[in-house]
Symmetry: C2
Subunit: 574 residues, 2 copies
């Protein structure tokens, strides 16, 4: 008989490692152990199951061709022994034994192994506040919780819901409840923006605006203090530092942490953040024990820092690397860059690499460049605006990250994908200016928005464009800050500018784009001129010209008024 | 006054160089010269103008915000002098003079320059066969031709059309005429496949099948010998080496070649293929003369060979590099990789890098790996099949190219984009197995099809999978070749397999995927077993198992029967 391979955890990394090991090592005896009865499911599909896009939880546990991935399937189709409802209690690394317990019968057993793989996953964080155990307060830790939440929704028990946490899962769950089930949903996020550390402020504000347009209430910079229940111990109110919110259901989506007790108790190296420490071959500090998926620590390939990246896609890739190494194929998993995408109602929101906030926090002399452009040729039907934000290092022009928002579809992913593999290869701005993306009018513009964003980044870093911070501009418009004297110069079509000039006669002035080379002398010399157009390009061009005639007190509004319109500012003329 | 910059050619590279130069060098005197009256248009949009997706040719000549890019626009908004209807006759490099002629008045003039930029573009190849000048025989050389073609269509003069050339433009024009105008359209391609050198045979066959499904007749490996006209000198028949085709209109879309006579006559270095030779800064052999766009030769960044890449997107990037260098910014254009995308009715078809045919012709020990998979999570609504074909070098596992077909939309582009920047950086298969693409169920699968295709490539190159060539399989099924003894083992659901077993009782046999580890002994030992499933993965798994029990006379059908279904073979059971 072949080697005894024992795998703890049967959701993503575990089954992946098991199946590839089976293909590479036909003689191996492979056992897959899980304390649950539902295994090998697409956890990232949970919001779509709750929303109803996915009708049956079985679909999340099925193969592409509709076979349910249960004990029977693994045994018969894969030749893999599965022990469900079996909890791993402890490891004896010297004897190479895994001690387990049947969670139904409490019967104990010991399983010998030649190689052990820990794929124990993560557990959701639970807010340490009163009422976190009330009936109706959920985390999204497993398929069982998802089924329970959907059950509540389907039975009409939920009129109002509060999601704590404005990260991806929180937003997906909010959309799931609001969209199909018509639940009055509120997101409470303690950071000043949604999707913190993933995308930067301006794009996050666009996401927030879009959620609000779709009926979701969003409170940022607000902290849940207490969950209150009714007489039956059922949640009825969330109390934050700013208000009380009535609710029938709470979802805590405030992150996850590695499940690594088993590893730690066995004396394996575990990081201070709780991630199992592995080398590039996914080997723990015990060479006979591998680990993969949400339970391990990894590192960020851009910053070089330690990282935690609980993602189903990464778990699958790590599982493959484990299997390769068990079979003697020297594969490595080198780290993560943090690629991300999500659907938010009618938008695609994505990123890869470092956000500007994170890059600055990591000590980079980082700058951001925002670009707004159509996603396909402007003469092509159904073109839509896309927004990209590139993060670069001023010192060496290295590209550190890219984020964006586009209309729902794969166009945004196309740009994120284009950059994903280049970041760890230390690509610089000019690499992206020249990146040869395929072009045809139904797919892109002749100068793709990604090339254009790199061009804008180069202009920013080279000091060829002077821009105003968008938050600052909005703050000026809101009257929150009293900057001595400024004037918006609107380069758009007069019909577009008219409502603004009417509403802000002292602050807004038209300048015809095809006349500015003649009429610039009429501009006030003493005021700070905020040059605005639709998308930012014309404003930059005018700034170049004005510089040449010694009118230098100008700033460009990055991305133009297209950006501001998508932020949903109060002062936007109706 | 600043430097005198004179630019010949005002379609893509020329206007781009002019506008960026204007921003970087506010004092420069910039002149843009073109022998046409219509300038600065999106030539790649011509098929969409002919189809009616773009209503007015002005849209192809407009900015994103609806200003027509004519003489007035360049003069007023850009501060650039435009000389339309002005033909550049010759260059005097010593005197730094450009001699021109007004094509209306025949008046001659000489324009002095400090720096000259040649952006003279390309001209379409014309088949050297009788009747190529008949009324109704067109090339797609300019917006005027496009207007003339659309005019014929709009006036109802075209019931039948023949497109000579099954490259991208030929296919786009065929779709344009057939789709909106209902023209009975035939494509004649002299190579054995459509899109030769861009995508490989199997994918090209899918494109051909899809065109036929949409009513277009396709003849490959067929050569036009003669165009016949009626009494009025109007085209009425195309005579090929195989048949006569009645037609009211012919479009010759058989490639373009550089317009470089001006350069050649001035003594500048021009390649034997006719492309103006430039360095990485787009400088010709005369340091005061730059060239960019369809008129220049470039090089392929993968093969290192000289290349010709007439594309609007590349022309724009080269134009930018010229402007940078005029202004003293040391930008370079290093070469091309050959990224490509197009819409074919309801499909997206794309590629980047070398096709398998080209790679082999270039001397690589190249292999191809085909992968069929859903473009988003299988449990997500509206997922569709995507097909990727990766070309790799067996000797060092370097990835040389990627091609694919997906449903219309940006999903295919997302995978092409992901690879585009990595090819010239000599990425190997494992780089793409591990490439961290963003993942969420509405956008991709946990193991993205690109990662999966790299995994398949690795299995192919490492000899872990033995596959049958798809053309060969079809040939066997067609009975064209008599291979002694073979049997298709169908691992799909019995309901899917039933029609095949009924139709091919001697050639087709079911094996239940969840039983094969027990029932394999019933397989005939003497026959070549062709393992098939939906997408190829299960067949590979079964092959691994059969190898381990010493049944090694097996081959996997790459991409599974999903591929064959999309080829439109005659024998597919209805």
């Amino acid at each position: 008989m072949g080697e005894k391979i024992v795998i703890v955890g049967a959701v993503a990394a575990g089954p992946k490692a098991a199946c590839r090991t089976r293909r590479l090592m036909p003689d191996a005896q492979i056992s897959l152990i899980d304390q649950d009865n539902l295994i090998s499911y697409g956890g990232c599909g949970i919001p779509y199951f709750v929303s109803g896009d996915v009708t049956d939880e079985k679909e999340l546990r099925s193969t592409t061709f509709n076979m349910v991935r249960d004990d029977y399937y693994f045994k018969r189709a894969k030749g893999i022994e599965v022990w469900t409802m079996t909890k791993a209690l402890s490891i004896d690394p010297k004897q190479k034994l895994l001690h387990v317990e049947d969670v139904r019968t409490m019967e104990k057993d010991s399983i010998p192994y030649d190689k052990l793989i820990l794929a124990t996953g993560s557990r959701p964080n639970i807010l340490p506040i009163p009422g976190n155990d009330l009936d109706g307060v959920f985390t999204i830790s497993s398929l069982h919780k998802a089924i329970a939440i959907k059950d509540c929704l389907a039975k009409g028990r939920v009129g109002k819901a509060v999601v704590i946490g404005g990260g991806a899962i929180g937003i997906e769950m909010a959309e799931a409840m609001a969209d199909l089930w018509g639940v009055e949903t509120t997101i409470v996020e303690f950071m000043p923006q949604l999707l913190p550390r993933i995308i930067d402020r301006t794009l996050a504000s666009m996401v927030e605006h879009h959620l609000k347009e779709n009926g979701i209430t969003v409170y940022t910079q607000e902290t849940a203090r207490k969950f209150e229940g009714d007489d039956q111990g059922k949640i009825c109110k969330v109390i934050t530092d700013k208000r009380e919110i009535e609710t029938d259901l709470v979802i805590m989506a405030v992150g996850v942490r590695p499940r690594s007790e088993l590893a730690k108790d066995a004396g394996l190296l575990v990081s201070s953040q709780g991630g199992i420490v592995v080398n590039q071959r996914m080997q723990t500090s015990d060479p006979n024990i591998y680990a993969a998926g949400d339970c391990v620590e990894t590192n960020n390939l851009i910053s070089g820092k330690k990282a935690y990246a609980p993602m189903g896609s990464i778990a699958n890739r790590q599982g493959r690397v484990v299997a390769d190494n068990l079979a003697g194929i020297p594969s490595t998993f080198n780290g993560v860059i943090g690629s991300f995408i999500m659907k938010v109602f009618d938008l695609s929101v994505g990123s890869t690499g470092l956000s500007l906030d994170v890059a600055k926090a990591e000590g980079y002399d980082a700058a951001g460049a925002l670009c707004a452009q159509y996603d396909r040729a402007h003469f092509f039907p159904n073109k839509k605006n896309m927004f990209l934000h590139m993060v670069v290092d001023r010192s060496d022009k290295r590209v550190l990250g890219l984020q964006g928002i586009g209309t729902l579809g794969d166009g945004l992913m196309a740009r994120i994908n284009a950059v994903a593999g280049l970041l760890e290869r230390k690509a610089v701005i000019s690499d992206l200016s020249n990146l040869e993306l395929p072009y045809a009018p139904p797919f892109s513009t002749a100068i793709d928005i990604l090339n254009a964003t790199a061009n804008v980044s180069d202009n920013v870093v080279s000091g060829r464009v002077r821009a105003i911070d968008i938050e600052e501009f909005i703050s000026w418009m809101d009257g929150n800050e009293t900057h001595p004297d400024w004037l918006v110069i609107d380069l758009r079509h007069p019909a577009d500018a008219a409502r603004f000039i009417e509403k802000f006669p002292d602050r807004w002035q038209l300048m015809l784009y095809d006349k500015f080379r003649e009429e610039y002398e009429q501009l006030p010399k003493d005021k700070m001129l905020i040059l605005t157009c639709n998308a930012g390009a014309k404003a930059y061009e005018v700034q170049c010209f004005l510089d040449s005639v010694d009118i230098k007190k100008t700033v460009v509004l990055p991305g133009g008024l297209n950006v501001i319109r998508n932020l949903g500012v109060d002062w936007w003329p109706s």
